[in-house]
Assembly symmetry: C2
Homo-oligomer: 457 residues x 2
């Protein structure tokens, strides 16, 4: 139960329309797309940096856990208020403070939706590169908290590469300003990137200066089909080593292709065991040459076909067909986003297949092959015997495999609650202890998203 | 004086060829390109991570200040052992541990020279984008410590954008491993970028995994001459808003042009008050279109001429002519690297000219206009009356102007000793206090490069 004095303070600060303790409101602010559910005791909707500061200070005073959230589209449980307390929803802080095409910058509040940033940038000939699959409804604040990626990260990089500076409230309630309004700036420590990807455990971001990128003039596509995964992986390496870096380089494995073939026999050749969907973008004059250069990196004795694709719809047809089919197999999808060096992709994919076979778990893999970032999907029916336990044992071995291959447990989803038990396999104890000390500097009372990101001790 | 036991410990650890206390050796390891000079009491040359750790632990035990250094090409005094103690030269840790073109990565020790990285990457079709003017002889460790930039940062970004992970020894002597071996990775806090640009105040980097970039197929140039600085600045904004981002966009102001004209009358038209030197790179098929697109962004009533340039030598002729001429004017050059948003460049440049006139200081400005990163040069003869004092007063007002224009005091040189007194004008007291606390977490005994980066209190 929250202290009465705390509730009175926030009620007075925010009024009846922006502070709630009723069970119905609290219920819906208790989960995110990880499907974890922990009901907070109150929900607050601040409108300004100063209100966020007042709330954080109150949480410190009354030792109330505070879990910041955007649109709760994250899949790792980062915005689930695991220890109860206050859910701090930033969804009403959605002003676009400045659009500044002359300096290729935009200043936004954290509740602005990714798509709204794109809509505001486009008339000026710009876009903001982070493009998670939830871009139509996820918030910029969430993108910053998780250092979101997406398919275009292979050419454009991830969220941390597209932010100039932040305004934020630390866990102890200080207003800080990080970074600068310019693309080059080296005065002081890089707190901007320390906060980006910290999943709301260090500070609550209340304003961000985004770096915009000019829209490409033209886009084109290529599909390539391979008889085996090794040949496909070698092609990925060759594609990434030539100067026409694709703007997307996505991959479907045999499991995914079998599923698609079973429902749409004409969409994928019968002997394709690995498929690439490749997008190139650039100047009008260059686009055909880029398409050609990528196609020239594709050949291999195990190549079945490589084809230019005229439109985006045809390029992504197989991928779009896949998502609804996954749900048909099993009600629960364990969707991981492991990363390995591109040259280790064959070992990862054959290894995952072997593990899934051994544990008798349906398995489908696809994702951002150009970065080595593969979405490993274990498809589970929790009501079917010990299937969930087998899937969890399988997942644990998948993570071990990823670490052996010099990879990382998460490329874009983050740690949240879901990957917390495994973090210690990737980050050594000394480095982890240092991260805990950094956390204490920002948040000495462990108010902000407590328990997240770090493994239990 | 260093404690005898400390010297014996390091002597035993490193042997007579890698630990020195004689005045001659100490003397030369006391300065960098800032021309500050503070003689250390000893110089050590470690060869491994473990040796660096042992040295840092000894410095903690005996409370000896430790100043890490690469090739000492920095211009802000970051590697000057201001408080004496030990100069830790990493110049002998120069192994290239792995060149991995399949994963577009290279693993190096900090003493490897920037040019050696380029030489090792080139046969595989790659380069490493950071290109400070000292690239032929500066070390990667120094590039990391300062988050070095260079002319190509306008398209490719700065050092922080091209590093995947680090091995480092914190100020308290712990070995940490940051980042990953993959381009996407979001597990744990981004300590990689916290350490990059921290000027050796948090940790000594002993190994870095660099991200490589494919070499462009073709390069072309453009020069543009303007009758006034405002028109030139508007052209810069237009050039940066179109999708063919130049690979370099360099600028010379009237002071620089007058100097060049006085010695080489044919190199620059008589009425040019601002000149752009623009490089584009990309695919063979695109390069002419890119050159055309940039040229189309140049026109203005005050444009005198815009011309394609066939070769690199012609493109940079005016800039190359400038450097030796600067030395003829005055023996001492105060060379700052301030940054303002591109749209504020006219205000910066007219403001700096007005200040230099008021203080009667010779002034020449040039630099990386595409980033708004201008090298403001105040040319001083310290033996001439109160000229140095006037220059310092002028500089202080230049920094105030930069802050008023929403800029930053340093785009690539760093703070070191030189900009330390001014940092408080850019970073507010609360954020600065947080940075000091972060420093204490890494370096509780204030062993590492003590006194640097932060203003005196």
């Amino acid at each position: 139960m929250l202290p009465d004095a705390f509730c009175r303070r926030l009620s007075l600060l925010l009024g009846p329309d922006r502070f709630f303790t009723d069970p119905a409101t609290c219920y819906v602010y208790g989960y995110d797309n990880s499907r974890n559910h922990c009901v907070p005791e109150a929900v607050a909707f601040p409108l300004s940096t100063e209100e966020v500061q007042a709330i954080v200070l109150a949480c410190n005073e009354f030792k109330v856990p505070l879990t910041p959230r955007g649109r709760a589209t994250g899949t790792a449980g980062g915005s689930v208020p695991e220890q109860g307390g206050l859910a701090l929803s930033l969804e009403r802080m959605r002003r676009i403070i400045a659009v500044d095409p002359a300096n290729r910058a935009m200043v936004v509040e954290p509740g602005v939706v990714n798509q709204e940033v794109q809509d505001a940038a486009r008339p000026h000939g710009f876009f903001w590169p982070p493009d998670p699959s939830s871009a139509a409804y996820c918030s910029v604040g969430g993108n910053l908290a998780t250092c979101a990626g997406g398919p275009h990260a292979v050419k454009y990089g991830v969220t941390r590469d597209h932010v100039l500076g932040l305004k934020a409230i630390t866990g102890k309630g200080d207003i800080i300003k990080t970074g600068a309004y310019t693309t080059k700036a080296v005065v002081g420590y890089d707190l901007t990137r320390l906060i980006i990807g910290s999943e709301g455990t260090l500070a609550v971001i209340t304003e961000a200066t985004l770096k915009l990128t000019p829209l490409p003039e033209a886009v084109a596509g290529i599909t390539a089909h391979y008889r085996d995964i090794e040949s496909c992986a070698h092609a990925i390496t060759r594609i990434m080593a030539q100067p026409h870096i694709p703007s997307a380089l996505e991959f479907l494995d045999r499991g995914a292709l079998d599923l698609i073939r079973a429902h749409y026999p004409d969409l994928v050749p019968v002997d394709t065991q690995a498929m690439l969907m490749i997008e190139v973008d650039g100047g009008e004059a260059e686009i055909e040459a880029s398409q050609r250069a990528v196609m020239q990196a594709c050949p291999d004795p195990a190549l079945i076909q490589v084809r230019p694709v005229a439109d985006q719809k045809s390029l992504w047809a197989a991928r779009k067909a896949l998502s609804p089919l996954l749900r048909d197999i099993a009600p629960r999808k364990i969707n991981e986003d492991v990363v390995v060096p591109v040259s280790r992709l064959p070992e990862l994919l054959t290894g995952v297949t072997a593990l899934a076979t051994r544990y008798q778990i349906a398995n489908v893999n696809f994702g951002h092959a150009g970065n080595g970032n593969i979405h490993v999907n274990l498809l589970v029916d929790p009501d079917r015997g010990d299937e969930l336990q087998r899937a969890e044992a399988c997942l644990s071995e998948v993570f071990d495999l990823v670490i052996r291959l010099n990879g990382t447990l998460s490329g874009e989803h983050g740690v949240g609650m879901e990957k917390r038990p495994f973090v210690g396999r990737e980050i050594d104890a000394t480095t982890m202890a240092l991260m805990r000390e950094v956390k204490r500097v920002f948040d000495p009372n462990a108010i902000l998203n407590p328990g997240k990101l770090f493994p239990d001790r």
